[in-house]
């Protein structure tokens, strides 16, 4: 086996800033974000696409950072929970999650917040059952999901009232 790790240099926009880095080609996008860029708000619960904890936005769409290689992110625009937090875009959802007790250990939260925001920005009126269905692909082992549904329903109602 050759000793040298094959590497490649990639450039992508992460949370609004242009980042260039040379990474081993086998590095996942999640590891790149966490280890290379120090963005540890993206969590790894399974590394095989089952739990949703690693969800980030790539060119505006929710993706699982554990299922993508860092090299696949070359030339894309990535937003993580840190970026969404700084922008204030999720402030209402974050506050609702806090107040409702929609997170306990918090390990699932970054991913769920990004999915919830995507769910709400599609603009449909959401029933509780829709919200539950929309959370498919996310595992929360602590809350039993009810408080998460409560928080998303609250903000769904608030956002649609504000846009009326």
């Amino acid at each position: 086996m050759s000793d040298a790790e094959p590497v490649r240099t990639i450039t992508c926009t992460v949370n609004g800033g242009l980042r260039t880095a040379t990474v081993p080609v086998r590095t996942s996008l999640a590891d790149f974000l966490r280890e290379t860029l120090g963005l540890t708000g993206t969590h790894l619960g399974c590394e095989e696409g089952q739990c949703g904890a690693c969800t980030v936005l790539s060119d505006g769409r929710t993706v699982r950072a554990c299922l993508l290689l860092a090299v696949q992110a070359d030339g894309t625009v990535i937003e993580t929970i840190e970026g969404a937090n700084t922008s204030g875009r999720l402030a209402d959802l974050q506050e609702a999650f806090h107040v409702r007790g929609a997170l306990q250990c918090g390990f699932c939260t970054s991913g769920i917040l990004l999915t919830a925001d995507a769910m709400l920005s599609e603009g449909n009126a959401l029933e509780r059952a829709d919200i539950r269905a929309g959370l498919t692909g996310h595992i929360c082992r602590c809350t039993g999901y009810q408080a998460i549904v409560d928080a998303i329903a609250d903000i769904g109602a608030a956002r649609s009232a504000a846009s009326d």
């Binding site: 086996m1 000793d3 790790e5 081993p24 086998r26 966490r34 120090g38 963005l39 540890t40 708000g41 993206t42 969590h43 790894l44 619960g45 399974c46 590394e47 095989e48 089952q50 739990c51 904890a53 993580t80 929970i81 840190e82 969404a84 937090n85 974050q94 506050e95 999650f97 806090h98 107040v99 409702r100 007790g101 997170l103 306990q104 250990c105 918090g106 390990f107 699932c108 939260t109 970054s110 917040l113 509780r128 919200i131 539950r132 269905a133 959370l135 498919t136 692909g137 996310h138 595992i139 929360c140 082992r141 602590c142 809350t143 039993g144 999901y145 009810q146 408080a147 998460i148 549904v149």
Partner: protein, 784 residues
């Protein structure tokens, strides 16, 4: 402040302290804590359920780029002590010696046999894969029913039965033999596990000049680990420090010692540098503790009028190849032997249990321990009795509920507090059961397979030292707190409780705030650091608020007394005439402010002479608390489930789930509700589909979340909660009862009863093998 003045709810539904930070992506889980100098560990694991290691060649791994060290089990033997989970309570228990890494024989699929330390995780994994092992596969042991007849897994022990237990009330056999009717059913409970979303992780750093081991890890019981790592690595206990930062769920999975953790610490000591290990999900599924694999033959004896006389059970509990260290594996069977039948007034009990070794992952104390089993056995048999006799399920239960307290169950357990009467009353107030029954009948008339069921449950919380203390195990049933008045008049509280998302820190802070008459925000709370907080038990057995909260309350009360004495000195009043309210010391009668707490604090720190020539202001107070005699505090409740079965797929859909619960004084209703709902979700998951399956060759099949299903949002209904009125607070102190496991304890039993009600509606026989997977349901319906 005396207890009589305290209300039933001590605090508001304050959101948890850390959740704003966590929702901002600013988490500090163990794997988030950057340590650029850390090397990475990976493990070579047994691909077999049971195999001798004939030889191992680690040279190719050692020669690889970036590899710092490789150790096999044999090589670590000289540096790390082995361990055996003995208990003086059962000196006859067969306890094999276990090592961090298997030495000569691997006894479960995934058992670590070598550790590799390298500059990156990827390099370490590459190197682990380059180790070659000559294995000699041995027969697996994966049928608990035949464990007794198989050749012993540990030849030195002569048997695969670690322990045989018996529990019988006087004359039980005669009463049972004379019963008019005995209903016997055989239960098979599925092995399942906790799946905290953050897998186990650890970073260990060793300072060789000072002999100091500093560990950051994801764990529930840091003080226990301090004691054990010192013991196993031969280090001074006071030079071992465990820090548990944010912990991404635990549920009992992060309660014991794991071989990987010991090996990582040994590597740090031997290399004199930080070493990090973060389990991936496959490793977690292979090696996290699993729980609740039992075969139970249970009988309910009835007299001619259909009155319940008593239960008898034969339990076989399938653990792993070793007893889990340091706690051992008695909890589940002991729960069955003490809690079956417990909600009811009965004449007798007879039970036996065998704890048997298996070549499967280690078994441990998952949320609820044996309580869900005891509840299921009891409540499923009660329902069978009513089906056979045609009694009404609720009336039948109510007729024999324990109402008079204290009550000694024929299992030998003394219950000082139970609230079944209150809970049934609350249930009937919350749900019109006739309407429910009519709805289900209507569904059935439309051809649907519908049913409902209830389960009454007891949760033993906040245990005293009765088991681990008597057993000679270094497991604390106490907790401690230090409460300090800072010069600004704010408060710092150092508590030995630990936080994995339950909100315990928040509750402790609320109690301290209440005791000192300040707002919660005036208090900073620090937990999860053995170098800083008093020694204590941390999280296990639903004890954080009942024990840790009490300790913090007591410490805060001492500080309060001192503050009032200091203010009394200044104001020439008696301390009894003063009170602490909203950050100020006020005159009790008039509400007149004497001095603000911040002024008093600054004065006491910087101008201590102002309080008199012979008085040293004492601005910190500490207290420790733990039950001495009281074995536990019982929470009680009833869960109700309504389900529908899809006749085509066999899927069980929970449509409604309700929990009626009584748990003494509540500190924070938001946290209590969160614990119960989260607990119900896990109980329903275990009943519906969670299963650690093993192939015939003993290899684990549930090695990913694709092959081990946990509930997602669509699988669960909203969970309705009803808090029942409490019985009088006869307990010492604040009378807080734990709630961490209550949801899990009764959820599966209620669901099973609902499913069997639905099956009975179609004329099908009841099911007592879990989980209630679609194929099992279709088979019960005769569809396949």
């Amino acid at each position: 402040m005396t207890d009589e003045l305290l209300p039933a709810t001590l605090g508001d539904a304050e959101p948890a302290i850390c959740t704003r930070r966590l929702a901002s992506g600013r988490s500090r889980y163990t794997a988030d804590v950057a340590n650029p100098k850390a090397l990475h560990a990976a493990f070579l694991r047994s691909p077999h359920a049971h195999a001798h290691i004939l030889s191992m060649d680690t040279e190719p791994a050692r020669a690889m780029t970036g590899v710092a060290a490789v150790w096999t089990g044999k090589e670590l033997l000289a540096r790390v002590n082995g361990y055996a989970a003995r208990t003086a309570v059962h000196p006859e228990m067969k306890v094999p010696l276990q090592h961090a890494l298997a030495v000569e024989t691997a006894r479960f699929h995934g058992e670590p046999v070598a550790i590799v330390v390298a500059e990156s995780r990827a390099r370490a994994e590459d190197a682990a894969a380059a180790i070659s092992v000559e294995w000699s596969p041995q027969p697996p042991l994966c049928d608990p029913g035949s464990a007794a007849d198989e050749p012993p897994l540990h030849p030195e022990l002569d048997t695969n039965i670690a322990l045989h237990l018996e529990q019988a009330s006087e004359g039980a056999e005669a009463i049972l033999a004379a019963a008019d009717r005995v209903i016997e059913r055989r239960f098979a409970f599925n092995r399942h596990t906790g799946v905290p979303l953050e897998a186990r992780s650890i970073v260990a750093d060793f300072e060789p000049c000072e002999g100091r081991l500093e560990i950051v890890m994801s764990h529930q019981c840091p003080h226990q680990m301090q004691v054990e790592f010192a013991r196993l690595l031969g280090l001074a206990q006071h030079r071992v420090r465990i820090v548990t930062p944010d912990v991404g769920g635990a549920f009992g999975v992060k309660q014991q010692l794991y071989g990987e953790d010991v090996a990582v610490c040994a590597a740090a000591v031997l290399l004199g540098c930080p070493v990090r290990f973060v389990a991936d999900r496959a490793e977690a599924m292979l090696t996290d503790i699993q729980a609740r694999e039992h075969l139970v033959t249970a009988r309910l004896a009835l007299d001619a009028d259909g009155r319940m006389l008593g239960f008898s059970i034969e339990d076989t509990h399938a653990i792993g190849p070793y007893l889990q260290y340091p706690r051992s594996n008695l909890g589940e069977s002991r729960a069955l032997l003490s809690l079956v039948g417990a909600p009811y007034v009965l004449d007798c009990f007879f039970g036996t249990a065998d704890i048997v070794f298996q070549t499967k992952a280690m078994a441990g104390h998952y949320r609820g321990v044996g309580h869900p089993l005891a509840c299921t056995v009891t409540e499923a048999l009660v329902d069978e009795a009513t089906r056979v006799s045609g009694h009404d399920r609720i009336a039948f239960r109510k007729a024999q509920l324990v109402r008079k307290l204290p009550h000694r169950s024929p299992t030998g357990v003394l219950f000082e507090r139970l609230a079944f009467a209150e809970c049934f009353e609350a249930l009937e107030k919350a749900v019109d059961l006739h309407v429910l029954e009519a709805e289900v009948a209507k569904d059935r008339a439309r051809g649907r397979i519908a049913g409902w069921g209830v389960a009454a449950f007891i949760e033993q919380t906040a245990r005293g030292p009765g088991f681990y203390g008597h057993g000679g195990q270094s497991v604390s049933s106490r907790d401690g707190a230090v409460v300090r008045l800072e010069p600004s008049g704010t408060i710092r509280c150092l508590s030995s409780v630990t936080e994995q998302g339950q909100g315990t820190e928040t509750g402790v802070r609320q109690l301290v705030a209440r005791a000192l008459g300040v707002c919660s925000d005036a208090i900073e709370i620090i937990t999860g650091d053995t170098a800083v907080t008093p020694h204590g038990g941390g999280t296990w057995g639903s004890r954080g608020m009942a024990i840790g909260g009490q300790a913090a309350w007591d410490a805060a009360q001492s500080l309060r007394c001192e503050i009032l004495r200091l203010a009394a000195c200044l104001s020439q009043r008696s301390p009894e005439a003063l009170d602490l309210l909203q950050g100020a010391i006020v005159e009790r009668e008039t509400g007149l402010t004497i001095i603000s707490l911040s002024e008093l604090a600054a004065m006491a720190h910087f101008q201590p002479y102002r309080f008199g020539a012979d008085r040293q202001p004492q601005l910190s107070a500490s207290a420790e608390y733990g039950p001495l005699d009281q074995p536990f505090r019982a929470g009680t409740g009833i869960q109700l489930s309504r389900i529908e079965i899809d006749p085509v797929t066999g899927a069980v859909h929970p449509l409604r789930h309700l929990v009626v619960h009584e748990a003494g004084r509540v500190v924070n209703p938001l946290m209590v509700d969160g614990q119960i709902r989260g607990g119900v979700a896990q109980g329903l998951g275990a009943a519906l589909f969670e299963h650690c399956a093993y192939a015939e060759d003993g290899r684990a099949e549930a090695t990913s979340l694709a092959r081990y299903q946990v509930p997602m949002a669509v699988d669960l209904p909203d969970i309705e909660l009803v808090h029942a009125g409490h019985p009088t607070f006869t307990d010492d102190g604040l009378g807080i009862v734990g709630v961490g496991e209550a949801g899990t304890v009764g959820a599966g039993a209620a669901l099973l009863n609902a499913v069997n009600d639905a099956l009975a509606g179609t004329g099908a026989a009841a099911v007592f093998t879990l989980p209630l997977t679609p194929p099992r349901i279709l088979a019960a319906l005769g569809a396949i």
